[in-house]
Symmetry: C2
Subunit: 205 residues, 2 copies
Amino acid sequence: MTDPTPRSSGPRGSYAKGIARRQEILDKSIEVFARRGAKKTSLRAIAQEVGVTHAALTHYFGSLEDLLVAVYREHERRSDSEHPETPADVSPALMMRVSAEENRSIPGLIQLYSTLVATALEEEGSPAHEFATQRFGRLRIELTDRVRLLQSTGQLRDDLEPSLVAALVIAASDGLQTQWLLDPSVDHEAALEMLDNLLAGDHRR
Amino acid sequence: MTDPTPRSSGPRGSYAKGIARRQEILDKSIEVFARRGAKKTSLRAIAQEVGVTHAALTHYFGSLEDLLVAVYREHERRSDSEHPETPADVSPALMMRVSAEENRSIPGLIQLYSTLVATALEEEGSPAHEFATQRFGRLRIELTDRVRLLQSTGQLRDDLEPSLVAALVIAASDGLQTQWLLDPSVDHEAALEMLDNLLAGDHRR
């Protein structure tokens, strides 16, 4: 992704100002998306809702797709800094449940996520494709490590291939989120808890 | 969804001709989408690839979104007629695996599916929203019944809530399909098989 920040277009002061201005627009954009979702829109319409000119939005973010990626990344960065370290003995599905729990309070951002993933599948090499490929890759590595650790301490069945468990848990969480958005009677959390128990080898539920 | 077939605009012969013409365009559209996926496109571009006028496509299908829904429905109708009845003792995840197996041979249609779901989340009441809500609802009912039956014959753990199993299996299959499209090293089939074994209570992987 190209970085449209005017890194060398002015003296130091104006660079710092550019960064601050970009962040300010990003903060407002997150509010706008959390409220409206990723409903069919244009960069022009977003600019209006955020209260900046279309030219400014293009200058700082490039295309609409670049802006959507930037907004979702910023959302994830904030979540990460609120929960800097998930304890190592938290199960993979519980980890996804916690993040899903947060997401449910902002359905607009789940819609945005789903749009990003669909866009990623549509075009290789696009900003959304890069974002989604990296995100899934990183999450799978993180969860695979977590599974291995939990298997070594007996908290998870040790006859399961860790990387498959990781892919399965991420898939289940994403897919359940989608079903829940379309039909709130789908109990996202209970289904992930069931998966957790199956992975742990429990016979509850 | 409105039906743009000219039901009362002419004598019986022209109605039948309209139906046949619509089906012919649909058949060609499926080929086009299977090849190209749902890459950012317009009704006009599709018309050109299919080899009809933009006006004809609009006449028979309405909007681009209507066409995407019609294409995916037709794809499902064909799959169903090729496999009219899945034996009742086939496990839910195996059922999803069979349909996923078919889908993998036509990545373009998986992309199309993912675009439809994302569009569904973007706008309530849209053709894609109606399609996705119906499809998930129908699949969950179908799989819930299957789970109950398999529990009664001891082929599935009977301490699991059938509707949660159904939602979980559908979610896992959809989510794994997405991950596989972005990274073919993700073993969609093995992960679903693992879920199947967990649901059956087996200790094989």
